[in-house]
Symmetry: C2
Subunit: 433 residues, 2 copies
Amino acid sequence: MAVNTVASTTASDSTHPGVSLGPAVALSCRECGERIPLGPHFACTACFGPLEIAYELPEGDPEALRARIEAGPDTIWRYAPLLPVPADVAAKPNLNPGFTRLVRADRLAAELGVTGELHVKDDSGNPTHSFKDRVVAIAVEAARAFGFTTLSCSSTGNLAGAVGAAAARAGLRSCVFIPHDLEQGKVVMAAVYGGDLVGIEGTYDDVNRFCSELIGDPAGEGWGFVNVNLRPYYAEGSKTLAYEICEQLGWRLPDQLVVPIASGSQLTKIDKGLRELIALGLVEDRPYKIFGAQAEGCSPVSQAFKGGHDVVRPVRPDTIAKSLAIGNPADGPYVLDIARRTGGAVEDVTDAQVVDAIKLLARTEGVFAETAGGVTVGVTRKLIENGLLDPTLTTVVLNTGDGLKTLDAVAPTTGPSAVIRPSLDAFRAAGLA
Amino acid sequence: MAVNTVASTTASDSTHPGVSLGPAVALSCRECGERIPLGPHFACTACFGPLEIAYELPEGDPEALRARIEAGPDTIWRYAPLLPVPADVAAKPNLNPGFTRLVRADRLAAELGVTGELHVKDDSGNPTHSFKDRVVAIAVEAARAFGFTTLSCSSTGNLAGAVGAAAARAGLRSCVFIPHDLEQGKVVMAAVYGGDLVGIEGTYDDVNRFCSELIGDPAGEGWGFVNVNLRPYYAEGSKTLAYEICEQLGWRLPDQLVVPIASGSQLTKIDKGLRELIALGLVEDRPYKIFGAQAEGCSPVSQAFKGGHDVVRPVRPDTIAKSLAIGNPADGPYVLDIARRTGGAVEDVTDAQVVDAIKLLARTEGVFAETAGGVTVGVTRKLIENGLLDPTLTTVVLNTGDGLKTLDAVAPTTGPSAVIRPSLDAFRAAGLA
């Protein structure tokens, strides 16, 4: 089939002979198309472009494939035939993320003036309560395949916890790197799984640079950095969001999706996942629009989109949406391409709008989102107001994490309606009866 | 069939004519057996004993019922035929809790010396990350059936959030009552859903007493208090834990279950659920043992069990396991009965053992449990050591909530392995390579 496939690749081509990662057959450069065998590589040897997975996806009857998926486990592993994982992945110890709720959001729709179907894909239901469990689960399989014994990453919080938990469950060692001045809550969430957690005196950029050095050093031998040398595998985990949304809609493409942008990888992989479903005949081929969402305090892609540029100019992040605060998003140009190609857009909202949107979603649907979910809901509202998103169509808005992880964002404006003595008179006087 | 059924009851018997809550046919006194029609009642009019739901459960072919359940949604509503909810419950806006992961815990088993199957039922995956979503979801259906427009409760945290979220999603007003001095994090989690949250100047006992007054007052008219006047319905939600565990084991009873005790209601309803599955022929009838778990600082049921008493003497709670800190557990005597009848036991662990057990579970399985989960894992270890729990059999340990909600328990002893400058030399010197 037509989506990123090669005619054939045998295991003996590989730098890791015997590696079997299901339908994944090679690494392919997103810039020049150069192909190399599967291995722990992330940059093209010819042009230094980013690598991604090329597949030989299952051919044949879409009905049979649909039935096979539906008979699978209630996790991302139901899509194992479309992922770079071994066929027996579900039998291995892992956190079994995915197949999170798609919430039909009628009350939110009413507030936003949406007359079509509005759904929230709520990824706070994952084991460590963010979409990171999806991508890390795929990276763990790559780590096992390449014989890595330590799982690592640079992180500002969510990813550190996801890696720590996944490594613990898989019986791998973990050693993750964070800026030394992270909030104590995030440190606890990352450290509780018992792996090594190293605070680096510096910014997140310093942490990243240090990890790149470590990969080239003997001290980092046998280490799989999920978001560096395992990144091509890791990133594919986001395709499962696209698969689940379509399956949960009854094997149907939504008309519009609103997706948060950090590095931009999630948005590009959701587009890849949708195109795969079309190519495989699992959904009817019809137009869809992908909208990207950023916080104003870190909106390089939104600025480029609105300015009509192809180049994304790096910014210094300053927003409460810390899980989206990547000032130099690696996939920014690809996001611009996708938004333009599909007829979508990229928009941003202020921190105050993020907080309002978190509360709006909680109040209408009982879903308490991380700041990133406030960004997507807030951007959805703004896109409707400025006429870019059609409120009469079927729209899916992503919430990629849990409000428990970013309590500070809403704490200053969220509290009791009243504090009273335990008496009926006091209660009546409070005006809440 | 034999489990808590009556020959027939028609809707016209009811104080709420037209109320249809599936197989639920009456309220039945757990002490004297007196039956009254379904309604928002919690105490027997004859003897003041606690009321519970009596059912007319589906008769006929167990295979057909199993198939019907398996074809249902991946939520507690797959068991709607066995719950006091309308048949179309899954189509109503609700949080869709349940069908959480049953984690096969081989690495934990190895540390505990368990050679049989060890599983953790991980209820942190529920929408607001505790088992409370199960019980509240059932209470919401009762509230709708009885025409209540405000959902309420007394709470020290988890329940307030679960009620706030469920009411928001259902489009009901909520007004929940908490002690005024709760930690800010818990206040935020409860208030973010936009309902009214009232701090009461006093202890949790004062909050409870105030809610009982409010039910009898015109100011509380039209209010459903999930854990007071809707308690018989609410409590049934815990049966779904038993159903899910058996279905996830392949329609098989575990040999041993370790369940936390707060009021004791969850443990008694799990036993009720298991007996229903046996009576319906959905699982093979064979012996099972139920073990209760408490924190030493609030262990009235454990003390009574070990002392050989039938009466549970109230205590003043002093433990980090706040979600289990009920000093006068209403279902305590029923728990003693069940532990003795099934050949189980009730045991308790110190706060230090709770913290150790939280970390043990996180380190071995990547599951970060609330303090209540530390209690059950810690008690499991103790029960194995003192020979009361057989490590060669199939055991299921419950984790009823999420570690993110009780970060304070592990924070003092959980932190980075090292803090270093971003250099390879500094990393090598830290001894982590």
